[in-house]
């Protein structure tokens, strides 16, 4: 079985890529004929497996951790965008192993969807896990956010080495109380920045209404102290360092603190001592992942894509990228990968778009978005649920202006596809 499962899987992978197919099929084939393939291959890694999960920011955070570890001279295997399911991990492994099934890497850093991570960790207990947040996302899949928190708790409970938790997210921080095996580390945020992270429980708490008492915060290994326009201050090891940042958006930079904690844990356990300057240098160079605050160039001017998929994310997006001087488009789809439920649009305030208005609305739920903006007194240019003509009209109508598009996941994929016809769009394999 072992002898031909890898070559066969690789063959399926080649054929399916030639056909322009997705990443899951070869993973499915190898899982069927050789169910132990993933576990066996990953268990050979000297530094084990690190899992990154949470509702928001997995892709960019995973990318950061990978680049930080590579700056320390480690060989890292990772799963790229769109394959954060068990089957996708197997498919990604097929691409990286040699014909005899050997993986040349020190560690695997894997982005895993909350629900699929549960199955994955049952088969491959990770040495490290990094749990980012539990935002009100994907309620149509999980029903309740408390349920999502339970999924993350399960990942933590299967972790053999170190669990890295978000000190500022009560549902994530609370996971520490349920663990007795793994070591727990935290990343944190300066109190002055907390207000920029409206948590879902506070969305509608009015001023003056009593706030439930919070327990004292645990010590965090890395704390984000300040976010500037293109730099940030992190505190760790008793000192504060300032580093340049290519990433934009407070939430991305907060996740940089998470990536630093995990990378420091892993590199600290490796053969070579941690090179802190190298880590910071690598951090300052990390570019946003696929569609997450990407800046492209159209007609010689920037076009920013901001991925939005839940109320906190949309609020942060609006806060992080001021509307002034920009032409704005919003693209809202309600396909499975976006979440079918549109309720969350009503928990975002759009006042910040009032001044300039929104030039174009598109996506399968463009009219829901129009209705939402109407109730916030935001002027609307045009509405067209079809993405291709809407994008063309937006670009045509906004000549001479930088542009920004807030989009859900599948809308982002469609927009990138259209943009690739007129500009160079980063290609992710």
């Amino acid at each position: 079985m072992l002898y031909f499962s890898v070559p066969l899987g690789k063959l399926v992978r080649r054929v399916s890529r030639l056909r322009g197919g997705g990443s899951a099929l070869p993973g499915l084939v190898v899982e069927k004929i050789d169910p132990g393939f993933m576990q066996r291959t990953l268990s050979t890694l000297p530094l084990g497996v690190a899992v990154v999960s949470g509702t928001n920011g997995k892709t960019t955070t995973t990318k950061m951790v990978v680049e930080l570890l590579e700056s320390q001279g480690l060989k890292v295997f990772t799963n790229r965008t769109g394959s954060n399911f068990t089957r996708g991990v197997a498919a990604a492994l097929l691409g990286d192993v040699d014909w005899r099934g050997r993986l040349d890497a020190d560690i695997a850093v894997l982005e895993l969807d909350e629900a699929h991570a549960v199955h994955f960790v049952n088969r491959v207990p990770p040495r490290y896990s990094l749990l980012l947040n539990v935002l009100r996302d994907q309620l149509d899949r999980f029903g309740e956010i408390d349920k999502t928190a339970q999924l993350l708790q399960h990942i933590a409970s299967k972790t053999t080495g170190t669990v890295v938790l978000n000190r500022e997210d009560p549902r994530v921080a609370r996971i520490a109380d349920t663990l007795d095996g793994p070591e727990v580390r935290y990343f944190g945020l300066d109190d002055s920045l907390l207000s920029t992270f409206p948590n879902d429980d506070d969305l509608r708490a009015g001023p003056g209404s009593p706030v439930p008492a919070l327990p004292a915060k645990p010590h965090a290994d890395v704390v984000l102290r300040r976010v500037g326009t293109d730099d940030a201050d992190f505190e760790y090891d008793g000192g504060t360092v300032t580093t340049g940042m290519k990433l934009r958006g407070v939430y991305n930079i907060f996740n940089a603190a998470a990536a630093l904690v995990l990378a420091r844990c892993i590199a600290g356990n490796g053969a070579t001592p941690t090179d802190h300057d190298g880590l910071l240098k690598a951090l300052s160079r990390v570019a946003p992942a696929f569609g997450r605050g990407e800046s492209l160039v159209v007609d010689g001017l920037p076009l920013d894509l901001v991925l939005v998929k839940n109320p906190s994310g949309f609020r942060l997006g609006l806060k992080s990228f001021p509307a002034g001087g920009y032409a704005t488009m919003v693209a809202i789809n309600d396909n499975y990968a976006d979440g079918r439920d549109m309720s969350w649009l009503w928990d975002v305030e759009f006042d910040s778009l009032r001044e300039g208005g929104v030039d174009q609305l598109t996506g399968s739920r463009a009219y829901d978005m129009a209705l939402r903006l109407q109730y916030d007194d935001v002027a609307i240019g045009a509405v067209n649920p079809e993405i291709a003509p809407a994008l063309a009209a937006f670009i045509q109508g906004a000549k001479g202006k930088p542009k920004r598009i807030f989009c859900t996941y599948t809308a982002m994929l469609a927009i990138r596809r259209e943009l690739s016809k007129i500009t160079t769009v980063e290609v992710v394999s």
Binding site: L139, I145, L203, S209, L345, S364, R365, Y367, D368, P385
Partner: protein, 240 residues
């Protein structure tokens, strides 16, 4: 010049607002303005003093944990809320608040969470989660569009009538094809999405009854429902 002030109270927005229920309060506020009235938005959370002179009440859905947090406080307000209901105060109760305004919620494990009994309904927790886009055909409001996400299943007693039947989606429970409950000026429903933006007929019913109750008669304005109509048409075409 304003035709008058209407005080809209949100019940437990801190703990019972998980499905965009804020949208319902926002819509009432804006439509009151569009109809020429002045909205005054109030909120009531656990431990607050209950405001006087409330004209319209909205309550939302929460997680099971949110329901536990508000349970005792809600029971302590039973007589106030019953009196408001019996004197025809319009109320919109979504999901969790719909359940707790009923007689009881019996959980899957058999424990009984008492409700305040404003509505003659009872709810039983199940392992089945009812999730997806819904359309309801209502004799009173026409087609109602929204989204449901609940595991509690509600059965209506003779003291209430259903809001409508569900050609798409499940509604109150997986058995009788009915959605929501109507009693006096109360509209109770499992639909969010939020309910009111895409269903202005219900918003205007709540506004009209609030104004009539307070001022004797209602003179409507002319809100622009162009986008609401298009959003409804598109929502009706989306798969479950």
């Amino acid at each position: 010049m304003s035709k008058g002030t209407i005080r809209v109270l949100q019940l437990y927005p801190r703990d019972m607002n998980i499905y965009g229920d804020w949208g319902n309060a926002l819509v009432l506020q804006q439509r009151l303005r569009w109809h020429g009235y002045t909205p005054e938005l109030l909120e009531y959370n656990v431990g607050d003093e209950f405001p006087a002179d409330v004209d319209l009440i909205v309550g939302g859905g929460g997680q099971d944990s949110g329901q536990l947090v508000i349970q005792d406080d809600l029971l302590s307000r039973e007589s106030t809320l019953k009196e408001l209901a019996e004197t025809d105060t319009p109320m919109l109760l979504i999901c969790g608040m719909y359940q707790l305004f009923g007689r009881f919620f019996k959980t899957r494990t058999g424990s009984v969470i008492p409700g305040i009994g404003v509505l003659d309904v009872e709810t039983h927790g199940t392992d089945e989660r009812l999730i997806g886009n819904v359309s309801v055909s209502s004799p009173e409001f026409g087609d109602i569009l929204g989204y449901e996400n609940h595991s509690g299943q509600t059965t209506l007693g003779p003291g209430v009538r259903p809001l409508g039947a569900t050609p798409k989606g499940t509604g109150n429970n997986s058995k009788d094809g009915q959605e929501g409950a109507r009693y006096r000026n109360i509209v109770a429903s499992y639909l969010h999405g939020s309910l009111l933006p895409k269903n202005p007929a219900i918003a205007d019913f709540l506004i009209r009854t609030a104004v009539e109750r307070k001022y004797g008669s209602f003179t409507p304005g002319a809100p622009d429902d162009h986008y609401a109509t298009l959003a409804r048409e598109h929502a009706a075409k989306r798969p479950r």
